[in-house]
């Protein structure tokens, strides 16, 4: 079984972003970047399936700038076999990304495509669902547990009312939530080894995909801050203020 994992290079989750003063976007100059945390979980899950003898090959793919090679190398250092970098310096949207991923999934004849449930930069939560639609496959989103048996995926999904269990045939698309596993660190020898693993560079045009955005971003701004609060001295004072000042209880 072949697994394709989509990984996105995003601003590190621990970094406090800055908005450009002219409101044209988020300032990404010299900001620490990392693999989208959900995608790390997806890579880890693929590696575990390979370690269990269920998967035979793991291909990782990213659509992004030349620097996204670092992200792919990191996935290779964790244990992926091969990488594909679809070079695109400009901003891309889930629909365009899903179209590229569709072409790659077909070319690679992937049995399972793993994605993160959401990228922590655009917070879109769309790409996996769009990819499944374009491929005509079943989808299992927000997965916290994945078992593969006899070409069937059994997935536990985190939903608003708790957990949902579903089963779907391969090939399919699964988007993962953080609770699925804890991604491993890549050891130094594995980081070295990853440097010589195959990484293929492509262009969106190679797949016949136009990544021109459909949405126009008119403005990016700071959210309104909350007004400063007060530190109260006792539980009694808190209750009094909630009753008489805030009037919420």
């Amino acid at each position: 079984m072949k697994i394709l994992v989509a990984v996105k290079r995003v601003v590190d989750a621990n970094i406090r972003i800055r908005i450009k003063p002219d409101g044209t976007g988020v300032d990404l100059d010299n900001v620490k970047m990392a693999m989208n945390p959900f995608d790390e979980v997806a890579v880890e899950e693929a590696i575990r399936l390979k370690e269990q003898g269920i998967a035979s090959e793991i291909v990782v793919v990213s659509i992004g700038p030349a620097k996204a090679e670092d992200t792919l190398r990191r996935a290779l250092a964790m244990g992926a076999d091969r990488a594909i970098l679809v070079l695109h310096e400009a901003h891309s949207e889930p629909l365009g990304v899903a179209k590229v991923l569709r072409a790659v999934a077909i070319e690679e004849a992937a049995d399972l495509v793993l994605l993160g449930k959401q990228a922590i930069d655009d917070d879109a939560n769309q790409t996996g669902q769009m990819l499944a639609a374009l491929l005509g496959y079943g989808q299992a989103t927000f997965a916290s547990r994945l078992e593969i048996e006899a070409r069937t995926a059994r997935v536990t999904r985190e939903v608003d009312h708790g957990l949902q269990l579903v089963e779907l045939p391969l090939p399919c698309v699964v988007t993962v939530d953080l609770r699925m596993n804890t991604p491993r660190f890549a050891s130094l020898p594995n980081v070295m080894k990853a440097r010589s693993k195959p990484l293929m560079k492509k262009a969106p045009g190679d797949y016949g995909v136009d990544l021109t955005p459909r949405l126009r971003v008119l403005k990016t701004e700071e959210p309104a801050g909350r007004k400063p609060g007060v530190i109260v001295g006792s539980v009694a004072e808190l209750i009094d203020r909630l009753k008489t000042e805030a009037k919420v209880i």
Binding site: I120, A133, T141, L163, V166, V235, L242, A246, V248, I249
Partner: protein
């Protein structure tokens, strides 16, 4: 062109978030129809018909739609999409699962989790865990939008829309529903509650989490929420997680107990009217968004708070 709003329900009851999504839908289009896709969902259709401001309820009642899986429902929605200028759903786990599938089948981009409507094609939404707000304009022929319901008030129930059955000729999709599991709770629903009492890693165990937050929540008739750390540690079920990757809530009162206030948590509760933070570390970032802060030990403060309320 009218908008079609896909309702959130469980075949028996209409989720309260739909009434909020109607407010957003009415800001996008002058005329709003509501689609109930499910099986044995007549009562839901009757409830939806009472939502003020909507003019028609479409009911697609068929076995393949019973579990509201994305594949058959997306096929249904795409089939109905023709006359609509906007396709809308609440940004619930169901809406998030469904709408991008619809969008891709129509070759259109979706605008996720909007917090404001600035014009028929212009929306505001948060990015980077709520640390920036983007104003985006759609250039597609239809607007495909999910709504952050905590950002919109509900419409009331004074309406009287016509209920129209739609013929469903859709086969079951590839996904087989097995079961839903939810932790039983007698507390109000997190996304609908007026007061939320939320706990973090500080509690140290599920027993203490329940023992300390339960009585307080009962006194305030509050829903219980949790940080990701508390859910990861097994103190609370996943459906109680508040934040960037959990639920976004905007209650009148949010009491954060033993929660540090990571940006990913703030993303889910910054919209609360009043925030109270209780934390033993006076420098915890949660105090920066709190209207009232109390520095101290949750194990001492929470029992006293529950007693004095």
């Amino acid at each position: 062109m009218p908008a079609l709003l896909i309702a959130e329900h469980d075949n028996a009851t209409l989720d309260l978030q739909t009434a909020r999504a109607v407010t957003a839908a009415l800001a996008i289009a002058g005329e709003v129809h509501v689609l109930i896709a499910g099986h044995g969902c007549g009562a839901v259709a009757a409830a939806a018909a009472r939502l003020s401001g909507i003019s028609r309820v479409l009911v697609a009642d068929a076995t393949p739609l019973a579990d509201q899986l994305a594949e058959p429902v997306a096929t249904l929605v795409v089939g109905l999409a023709g006359p609509y200028g906007a396709l809308i759903a609440a940004a619930t786990s169901c809406g998030k699962n469904l709408m991008p599938r619809v969008a891709a089948l129509l070759d259109m981009m979706q605008i996720s989790d909007i917090i404001a409507v600035d014009g028929p094609h212009v929306f505001r939404r948060t990015i980077y865990a709520g640390n920036a707000i983007e104003t985006v304009q759609s250039t597609d022929a239809k607007q495909i939008v999910t709504i952050r319901t905590s950002a919109f008030p509900p419409v009331d129930g004074q309406g009287n829309a016509e209920v129209v059955p739609v013929a469903v000729a859709i086969a079951a999709g590839p996904v087989r529903f097995i079961e839903n599991r939810s932790a039983r709770s007698d507390r109000p629903e997190l996304s609908a509650a007026r007061v939320v009492v939320s706990g973090g890693r500080a509690f140290g165990s599920k027993e203490k989490f329940d023992a300390l937050l339960g009585p307080l929540a009962a006194k305030l008739n509050a829903a219980i929420g949790a940080s990701r750390a508390a859910v990861d540690a097994g103190y609370a079920p996943n459906e109680l997680q508040v934040g960037q990757t959990g639920k976004v809530v905007a209650p009148d009162l949010y009491i954060a107990c033993g929660i540090s206030g990571a940006v990913q948590h703030l993303a889910g509760m910054k919209g609360a009217k009043i925030v109270v933070a209780i934390n033993s570390d006076a420098s915890a970032p949660i105090f920066q968004v709190a209207d009232y802060g109390l520095v101290g030990d949750v194990f001492e403060i929470l029992p006293e708070l529950a007693r004095l309320l």
